[in-house]
């Protein structure tokens, strides 16, 4: 029930959002990686063992849904993926159907996101 030492990957094209989430997980003593889009996130996932991915849905090059599908194509269970959305045409249920643990809506409840990660890891 702790995030100490856990590998967290933050994926968002908005650097300020990435900074907030990085600070939030760093405060919990997790090891944080970040990427501005799904494609770069996949590169990190290929190199590092990640426990938990927090990804925005709307991003250039490869979006959050695309990233989720690719992650689940490799492993049906791991890592856990939480998605963040502002206004998504994709319903939460559909995202969960594709293998997301939960969908968070902006503005993000950082406490709830940390709690989810803690409960899963």
């Amino acid at each position: 029930m702790t995030l100490i030492g856990k590998h967290i990957l933050i994926v968002d094209d908005e650097s300020d959002i990435r900074d907030i989430l990085r600070d939030a997980f760093t405060l919990e003593d997790a090891v944080v990686y970040s990427a501005p889009n799904g494609q770069e996130a996949l590169d990190i996932l290929g190199k590092v063992s990640i426990d938990f991915v927090v990804s925005d849905i709307r991003m250039p090059i490869l979006d959050g849904i695309g990233l989720l599908i690719k992650i689940r194509a490799n492993n049906a269970a791991l890592p856990h993926v939480a998605l963040i959305t502002g206004f998504s045409e994709q319903s939460d249920a559909a995202a969960i159907g594709l293998g997301a643990a939960q969908v968070f809506h902006k503005p993000i409840d950082v406490g709830a996101l940390i709690d989810l990660a803690s409960s899963l890891l």
Binding site: D13, E14, D16, I17, D19, I20, L21, D23, A24, L27, R58, M59, P60, I61, D63, G86, F87, K106, P107, I108, D109, V110, G111
Partner: protein, 487 residues
């Protein structure tokens, strides 16, 4: 909007239209009838005129012939007198024979014309008179021969006595000629009166015709006035419709932007909210530092400014802008302001955006709101066109020459087919599916750019799809722009 649409549907336009057609056809038929009758009337008057001319010519010919007859009669009379000077019986006899032959020839010609005389009474009178003339001339001729007989015998005294008889015979001839002239005058007058009566009969129609023509003119004037009013009303309705469609197009354009703006505002809100929550979390863990607070406050402040800029831009964009004064505008700034409305959309479509600004300090003279609207419209069109293509990209290129500032909006599309390109800037032309496009964006953009002294066109020379907007360069200082903005 819904109410006004239903009102338009209840407007009984088709009924009015069909009535207008009937009136038009009735007036046209009436017009044709009147013209046909006028042509018929003119034709008849012309026939009467021709007949009158012919009649006059005949009577002139006959008068001339009667004069010739009179001359011939005089020529028959002359030898009877001239013999007293010439004493040449043979010569004077020959003159009488010659004159007599001419007289008979003329009389025969005249007799044939007398037969064609319509009026039987006149024909009889003329024949009688000619007969008397012929007899008188013959008697005169006989008398001349008697005188010649006395001369042959050398009895000039008896010949001189017969001169008085000869003169009486010639007076009788002249008397018949005068009577004939009188008949001619009466006959000519009678025929001219007949034609005048025919003309007068036709002239009776002049009044009714004039009245009908006047009526047609009045009806056509009333119809014209009515049509004019209807046209004005229709034009007003078209103008209202155009304004409504223009407003709808703008609403649609605003709708597309609203989605983008929602994201643009939602992210800053997430940042502010996230930062605030992090302050609490740091405090809970006892790790809140002054530097951390300052940093968070700076991020929040910066993010609030970002939202304020979006809202300010939106307020400007939603305005009409048509009445705005032409002012000096920074090319760099207008691109940034325009992208605030569609950046998110471009990003979400996975489109790479490149800006190639070779003249970052360049200014143009224009209406910033409208130029921004045109840019957003061109960028939105590009997004619609290329979002499904592999590795999509949009490039905005700014170039400067002596008079114009050129903005090129190039995308990875392979150009626009000629058939479509020709219609591209016409109102209501769209290749987008029903409900996705009004076909007004480019035509409205063209109008806006033209009214600012600029040009907007598709660059067909470029292999990729490229729209070019040229705006007059500004030599005004940017300070004036700022002061106008502040105002």
């Amino acid at each position: 909007m819904g109410e006004s649409m239903s009102t338009n549907q209840e407007n009984p336009q088709p009924v009015k239209k069909s009535r207008a057609h009937r009136i038009y056809y009735a007036l046209a038929a009436f017009d044709i009838l009147t013209i046909a009758a006028s042509v018929f009337l003119s034709h008849n008057i012309l026939v009467i005129y021709k007949m009158s001319v012919m009649e006059n010519r005949i009577w002139v010919d006959r008068s001339v012939r009667l004069d010739e007859i009179a001359q011939a009669a005089g020529a028959i009379n002359a030898p009877g007198n001239d013999i007293f000077d010439s004493h040449d019986v043979k010569l004077e006899s020959e003159r009488i024979v010659s004159a007599s032959a001419k007289f008979e020839k003329l009389m025969n010609e005249e007799a044939s014309l007398t037969k064609t005389e319509d009026n039987q009474a006149t024909q009889s009178e003329l024949r009688n008179s000619y007969s008397k003339l012929a007899t008188s001339v013959q008697t005169m001729q006989d008398e001349a021969r008697v005188i010649f007989g006395f001369f042959q015998k050398g009895d000039t005294t008896s010949a001189g006595r017969r001169m008085a008889t000869m003169d009486r015979r010639y007076a009788a001839v002249n008397s018949e000629l005068s009577r004939l002239r009188g008949y001619f005058a009466i006959s000519q007058t009678a025929s001219l009166e007949r034609e005048a009566r025919s003309a007068a009969d036709l002239a009776k129609f002049e009044g009714p015709f004039s009245a009908v023509i006047l009526l047609i003119i009045i009806l056509v004037s009333i119809y014209g006035h009515w049509i004019g009013k209807r046209t004005d009303a229709a034009n007003e309705a078209i103008e209202a419709g155009r304004a409504q469609i223009s407003a709808s197009a703008k609403m649609a354009s605003l709708g597309i932007m609203a989605a983008g703006i929602a994201h643009e505002i939602n992210n800053p809100m997430a940042i502010i909210s996230g930062r605030a929550e992090m302050l609490v979390r740091y405090a809970q863990k006892g790790k809140l530092t002054e530097a951390g607070i300052a940093e968070t406050a700076a991020v929040i402040q910066k993010t609030c400014k970002r939202v304020a800029a979006i809202i300010s831009g939106l307020r400007k964009f939603a305005r009409d802008g048509e009445q705005d004064p032409i002012e000096a505008v920074s090319a760099k700034q207008i691109i940034e302001e325009s992208l605030a409305f569609c950046n998110e959309r471009i990003k979400n479509a996975g489109i790479a955006l490149h800006i190639q600004d070779d003249c970052p300090d360049a200014m143009f003279a224009g209406r910033p709101v409208q130029v921004s609207q045109v840019m957003v419209n061109l960028l939105n069109n590009a997004v619609d066109a290329i979002s499904t293509l592999p590795n999509p990209w949009i490039r905005i290129i700014v170039e400067e020459n002596s008079d114009f500032l050129t903005f090129r909006f190039r995308d990875c599309g392979g150009g626009i087919p000629d058939a479509i390109a020709e219609k591209l800037l016409t109102p209501f032309f769209t290749t987008k599916e029903v409900g996705k496009g009004t076909g007004l964006g480019l035509s409205m953009s063209l109008g806006m750019v033209n009214r600012q002294g600029g040009k907007l066109y598709l660059n067909r020379a470029q292999a990729h799809t490229e729209f070019v907007m040229e705006l007059p360069k500004s030599n005004g200082a940017s300070l004036s722009t700022d002061s106008q903005k502040a105002a």
